[in-house]
Symmetry: C2
Subunit: 208 residues, 2 copies
C-alpha cells in the first residue's frame, strides 16, 4: 500500500482481477500481462496496472504478473483468506433471498444467524438457519463472532435495528432499507438502495 487514497472502483475491480487470475492459475497459466488481463476483463491495461499499483509492485517488467502470486496477494488484500460471519436482520423475502443465495461462501461470507421482530417468523428455518427474536441479537452476535449485519427490514425500523447492531459490536452494516442510517463513524455502512435503481428506470425510458 503506497498511502494514496484508493478509489472505490479500484476495489471492485480487484475482485474481477482476482477471479481471473484464480482461473488462470488453476489452468496452470503461469504469467499474464496487464494488457491481456485487461483484455479478459474489458478494462484497459493502464487501469489494471494503476489499480494494482495502489497496493504494491506485483509485476515483472518484460513478462508480466505471476498468476498464483498475484492471486495470493489479492487474497490477502481483499480479506479472502478467512471467513466473515454475517447476520441478516429481517426474514422477509429479501432476507430469504440472501439466505438462499449460494454464492456467499465464495465471497468468504457465512450467514450464521437470522433475526426478525415478527413472532410468526421466529423458529422457522431459512435454509440452515433458524430465525431468532431480535432481542437475542446482542448475545448471539458475541457468541458467534459476527462482523457483518445485513439490514433487510422495512425503512421504518431500520434505524432501530442499526442501533442494536452497533450495540452488539458489529463493524459493518449492509443496509437495504431506503433510509440513511445514523451510526458512529467507526461503523462502516454501505447502502444498497434497490428503490433508487427501480426509480431511475423510468427516466431512461422517457429519454430515449
Amino acid at each position: 500500500m503506497n498511502g494514496k487514497k484508493v478509489p472505490e472502483g479500484t476495489i471492485s475491480r480487484l475482485f474481477i482481477y482476482y477471479r481471473e487470475v484464480s482461473e488462470l492459475s488453476s489452468l496452470k497459466i503461469k504469467t499474464i500481462s496487464s494488457a491481456e488481463l485487461g483484455e479478459r476483463t474489458n478494462l484497459s491495461d493502464a487501469q489494471v496496472r494503476k489499480d494494482l499499483g495502489y497496493f504494491g509492485q506485483f509485476g515483472v517488467s518484460g513478462s508480466g504478473y505471476d498468476t498464483s502470486e498475484l492471486k495470493k496477494a489479492l487474497e490477502k488484500i481483499l480479506g479472502k483468506d478467512r471467513t466473515w460471519n454475517v447476520a441478516v436482520i429481517g426474514a422477509g423475502h429479501l432476507g430469504a433471498a440472501l439466505l438462499s443465495y449460494p454464492g456467499f461462501k465464495n465471497y468468504g461470507l457465512e450467514i450464521v444467524a437470522a433475526f426478525d421482530s415478527d413472532s410468526k417468523r421466529i423458529g422457522k428455518k431459512l435454509g440452515e438457519i433458524e430465525v431468532q427474536l431480535i432481542s437475542d441479537l446482542s448475545k448471539t452476535a458475541k457468541d458467534k463472532k459476527i462482523h457483518i449485519g445485513i439490514i433487510t427490514v422495512p425503512a421504518a425500523s431500520a434505524q432501530e435495528v442499526a442501533e442494536k447492531l452497533v450495540e452488539a459490536g458489529i463493524e459493518y452494516i449492509l443496509n437495504f432499507a431506503p433510509v440513511s442510517l445514523d451510526v458512529p463513524d467507526s461503523i462502516k455502512v454501505k447502502d444498497v438502495d434497490l428503490s433508487r435503481e427501480l426509480e431511475t428506470l423510468t427516466y431512461f425510458l422517457v429519454n430515449k
Copy 2:
C-alpha cells in the same frame, strides 16, 4: 434540456428533489430556495441548482422554486406522469421480494407478469400475479405492453432470458444476475450486482 451530458448522479438526485417538493407542495408550501431544498436533502445549494440547470430554468431569482411547478416539471422529466409495465423473470426469492415490494407503484412501475422456467412454480400466485411459463413471454409482453424486464434468474440462464426479452420487444432490462449481458445497443441494461456489494464488504473489514 441544454444539450450537455447529464451525469448519472444528477438523475438519482432529481428523484430526491421530486420527493421533497411533492411533500412540500402537499403541505401547501408554495416556494423553496435551493439552499433550503439542499438542507432538507443533505445536498449543497449549488448541487441543487446545477442539477436542475441541466433541464431548464425553473426558479425565480429572489424567491426560489415554485414547489408545485417544479413537481410537475420533474414528473415530466422523470417519466412519472405515466405507468410503466414490468415483467419479472425468475420467481425465486429475489423475484418474490420484488413482487411483494409495495413501493413499486410509487415509482410509476407496475409488475404485470412473472415468469419462470421451473414447472413447479407455474400457476402459483405471487401477490396478485400468476407465474407463467417463460415460453409465454413474447406473447404476454406484447399483449400487456411491457416495457421493462427484471431478470432474477441464476447467472447461467440470464443471457438466454435477456435474448427472449429483446425478442419480446422490451426496452429496458434491470439485471440482477452477476453476468454482463450481451444485447443490442438500443436496449438499456442496468446491472445490480448484489454479489459485488457483498464481496467488497470483506475488503473494508480487513482494511480497518
